[in-house]
Amino acid sequence: MRPVALTVNGVRRELSLEPRELLVYVLRERLGLTGTNVGCDTSSCGACTVLVNGESVKSCTVLGVQADGLEITTIEGLASNGELHAVQQAFHDHHALQCGYCTPGMVLAAVSLIESGEATDRDTIREGLEGNLCRCTGYHNIVEAVAAAAGVS
């Protein structure tokens, strides 16, 4: 077991982890943050996407011990003061989710994409979300939501 200190949604957490524990299971099973979903175990689907120091990362590709000292934002930490984040609100307004399982990862990937300045038009949004799979929406409304949140007309 290894001592690890990480900040999750603004709260410092000190944990003792097995070296093999993946960050996604640390979040889900150790910290009870089940908003981060596991879809494929193989870094294909992006359902487990979280923000690590502000950048989107698939949390099934990171060991918990590698997150030592890092700041993690999960879907639970995105809304503030009861107000949805602009991307969450845009997903609601544009019907960009159906079953909702890919949604936390998709929203966080979109937040990162917009904040990096790469969401400049619908093509860059589509390319930027390539690592996040959705089986319900056909992406059409996800692209519309991200475009709206990014201020792309």
């Binding site: 097995e18 093999r20 524990e21 299971y25 889900r28 099973e29 943050l33 089940t34 908003g35 981060t36 979903n37 596991v38 879809g39 494929c40 175990d41 193989t42 294909s44 689907c45 359902a47 999960t74 879907i75 639970e76 995105l78 809304a79 949805l84 969450q88 997903f91 609601h92 307004d93 019907h95 989710l97 159906q98 079953c99 909702g100 399982y101 890919c102 949604t103 936390p104 929203v107 619908r122 949004i125 589509r126 390319e127 979300l129 390539e130 690592g131 996040n132 799979l133 959705c134 089986r135 319900c136 929406t137 056909g138 992406y139 059409h140 409304n141 996800i142 692209v143 519309e144």
Partner: protein, 785 residues
């Protein structure tokens, strides 16, 4: 044609979803998010071979491993099963239905067949210990090709049957052969539709808890909590009355969770043995081999026609892979398409034969569209071939054969409820600007560009809203097709709706509230929809086959009328007028001609609960249940077009535009309809261009991850252009039809027709799905003179 207009306050409007707040903030209740005190985790040991004799299973090392609670082989658990995992659709009297137990004991019949289970204190420990299970296999010959499986001497999936033929089902009109013989033109084409893997992003998951007197509670990522309840009685012998099934938030299904799976029965059996809650969560790699697949059908389709393009007969002969076992509705999937081999065309003579075939592969079952994409694909491909043979424009050929009068009884025997097929195609062509596409195509061809474009069409109708129970009985389906709704006014005026449908992305919490709010004249926010728990919703047939709105949604209307009827009697009694003198509008009853004498329905609800002053003999409360059995299927239709750009040097194909005009009857929530259409189209496009569940000859699945199977991402796809024509269904008071599968049914042939159109000047006339760069490139090379 009746074009409906929006009449309600909420129905017909894009009310934003009630479901979203939970899902957007990470507070969903997917099964894997839950853990009960004392929970142990199950891991399943699966056969790496497609076909093998299980010579021995040594569990000693696994049982001795850290944190292991128990481990069992198939033989160990054999006495736990009171029945086989059920197949509800024995399509013929002489169908072969081999038993299918949750763990294989003697023989593994497909890669991924479960042979042992390990139960441990945590997910990781269970998985560690599962690796220590030593199974001695004797590998046997396997067959995965549906045609080879029918050859003499093919390895048998169930050797005691003496054949891999599961059934032959046939439906033919009397004059079919005469019509075929008399035809001016006969066109026959052969098609293979590969296996598709549904890939709901949430894998399956189960938690089972069993009390000391066999009180079962099972949480499952299922589309069918009610079906699972009675299936568990069949498999385990525990009476349904003791079984509570909860389908909490469920992360997509697409048919793959319309089933009763080995792991559900195992979790209950093990929780019963161990006295602790048992949890199992599928890994994606397991999902690829242990959750049902779709399609895997070889078709031969024949059209007979007169010289002027009147199609006089259609014949379909299909070999349909069942896989290794019959899951819940495996044999019936082709039948769901059986009545669509005439499509939207008034073809007077018809012959359909399905041969169900066992193979050493994961069982097939319902995947979005289920039987109908198969039929529509071969029909819409072959109509292009017939047009070419006749030297006729394929859209003209379609129009010449469209049904124009409704209701229309098809030669296959069922009756189309309503439609206007020309209207959808007209609207599609308005949106498409075909002239501009043809001009671009001509100039690219003239220049000899490497990148060529093509446009492809698909005009479809489909049969959904499963289903009239009598028809289901007539085709040997084991249960009914009705659904239920309970509407309950609480004393202070809020409304609870209990539905028998079980949404997993379809937005019933919102759209059901829209329907009820309009009927009862209350606000949509005052209506709460409860579902997915058999303790709350006792009566239900769940969600699949685009049935929820056309059956369960219509049940809401009927329950609403019962509520209004009772409320009217309360008001008449209290205002001392006759019920016939009351009007009900906007949630208020008033006396005709005396609008000041009025009661709101919320006030009636309070009076009905207080029961101080009700008519003699009236039961207190304001609650009603309706169980609705539809008189017909619902028959959506539409016209779709795909525009593709094909790089003739590399074979790379990009979808440039996709235009869809669908007629799904009266729209309840246009935003939700568009969402369903977008998702459906995407799965059809995926089948046409990307996805294939491929096995090698030994039965090893080659596409074992989302990256090799190629679930498309946003980057591969364009934004879609969608519109609707509206022809209300006359068979239900809401005028609604199903929408969940239309896109998937229509899209694949439109895309493949577009690829072939792009390459027609090069002499390419056929390409197998998915049209990968390699297949396209080879087709171009092989067509070279």
């Amino acid at each position: 044609m009746a074009v409906t207009e929006t009449t309600g306050t909420f129905v017909g409007t894009s009310v934003k979803r009630k479901e979203d707040a939970t899902l957007l903030t990470g507070r969903a209740t997917y099964v894997d998010n839950m853990t009960l005190p004392g929970t142990v985790t199950m891991a399943v040991v699966r056969s790496p071979y497609a076909h093998a004799r299980i010579k021995s299973v040594n569990l000693d090392a696994a049982r001795a491993a850290e944190g292991v609670v128990a481990a069992f082989s198939g033989t160990d658990l054999a006495d736990d099963w009171k029945g086989s995992l059920p197949c509800a659709w024995p399509v013929t009297e002489d169908i072969k239905m081999p038993p299918h137990y949750p763990l294989a004991a003697e023989e593994a019949r497909h890669q991924g067949d479960g042979v042992a289970v390990v139960i441990a204190e945590s997910r990781a420990l269970a998985k560690d210990a599962a690796e220590l299970v030593e199974v001695e296999y004797e590998p046997l010959d396997a067959v995965v090709d549906v045609e080879k499986a029918l050859e003499d001497g093919a390895p048998l999936v169930h050797s005691d049957l003496g054949t891999n033929e599961c059934y032959v089902w046939k439906n033919e009109t009397d004059d079919f052969q005469a019509a075929l013989d008399a035809a001016d033109v006969v066109v026959t084409r052969r098609y293979f539709q590969p296996r598709l893997i549904p890939n709901a992003i949430e894998p399956r998951a189960v938690i089972a808890q069993v009390g000391p007197s066999d009180e079962v509670t099972i949480w499952s990522a299922t589309q069918v909590p009610h079906i699972l309840r009675f299936a568990l009685q069949i498999v385990l012998g525990i009476p349904e009355s003791k079984i509570r099934v909860i389908a909490p938030d469920v992360g997509g299904g697409f048919g793959s969770k319309l089933n009763v799976y080995a792991e559900e029965a195992l979790a209950v059996a093990l929780a019963r043995r161990l006295g602790r809650p048992v949890k199992w969560t599928e890994e994606r790699a397991e999902n690829y081999v242990a959750t049902i697949h779709g399609r895997d059908v070889v078709h031969e389709l024949t059209f007979a026609a007169t010289k002027d393009g009147t199609i006089t007969a259609v014949k379909s002969d299909a070999k349909c892979a069942m896989g290794a076992y019959l899951q819940l509705v495996t044999p019936g999937i082709p039948l769901l398409g059986a009545w669509l081999y005439t499509g939207p065309y008034a073809i007077p003579n018809y012959s359909v034969t399905f041969t169900g075939v066992f193979t050493h592969a994961t069982p097939t079952d319902a995947y979005r569209g289920a039987g109908r994409p198969e039929a529509t694909y071969v029909l819409e491909r072959t109509i292009e071939a017939l047009a070419q043979e006749l030297g006729m424009d394929s859209l003209e050929l379609r129009r010449k054969n469209f049904y124009t009068e409704f209701p229309a009884t098809m030669s296959s025997g069922l009756t189309l409820d309503s439609g206007d097929y020309h209207a959808s195609l007209d609207r599609l062509l308005e949106l498409l600007d075909l002239d501009a596409i043809r001009a671009d195509q001509e100039s690219r061809r003239g220049r000899g560009d490497a990148k060529q474009i093509g446009v492809g069409f698909s005009t479809y109708n489909e049969m959904c809203g499963l289903a009239p129970s009598r028809i289901l009985g007539a085709v040997r389906y084991a249960v009914g097709g009705w659904d239920s709704a309970t509407i309950r006014f609480q004393p202070l005026g809020s409304v609870q709706v209990v539905t028998g449908t079980s949404p997993h992305g379809q937005s019933h919490e919102t759209t059901w509230a829209q329907i009820v709010a309009d009927q009862l004249g209350v606000d949509v926010d005052d209506v709460e929809v409860l579902h997915g728990d058999t303790a709350v919703s006792q009566l239900g047939m769940d969600t699949y086959g685009s049935r929820s709105l056309a059956v369960g949604g219509v049940a809401l209307w009927h329950a609403s009328q019962k509520i209004i009827g009772k409320a009217r009697d309360v008001v008449a009694h209290q205002l001392e007028v006759s019920a016939g003198d009351l009007e009900f509008e906007g949630g208020t009853f008033s006396v005709k001609g005396s609008p000041d004498r009025a009661m709101s329905i919320q006030a009636v609800a309070f009076q009905a609960h207080a029961a101080h002053n009700l008519p003699d003999g009236m039961e207190p409360g304001l609650e009603a249940t309706a169980v609705y059995d539809p008189p017909n299927f619902s028959w959506p239709a539409g016209a779709h077009a795909a525009v593709v750009e094909v790089d003739t040097e590399t074979g790379d194909t990009r979808l440039v535009r996709y235009v869809a005009v669908d007629d799904v009857g009266t729209p309840v929530n246009p935003m939700v309809i568009d969402g369903q259409v977008h998702g459906g189209i995407t799965q059809g496009i995926a089948a046409a261009l990307y996805e294939e569940g491929a096995y090698d000859e030994d039965g090893n699945l080659l596409t074992t991850t989302m990256a090799t199977y190629l679930v498309p991402s946003a980057a591969e796809l364009p934004s879609y252009e969608t519109d609707r024509t509206e022809t209300e269904s006359p068979t239900n008071p809401l005028g609604v039809k199903g929408v969940g599968e239309t896109g998937t049914i229509a899209a694949a042939p439109a895309v493949i027709n577009a690829v072939l159109d792009a390459l027609s000047h090069l002499g390419v006339t056929d390409i197998q799905m998915p049209a990968t760069p390699e297949r396209v490139w080879r087709a171009i090379q092989e067509a070279k003179p």
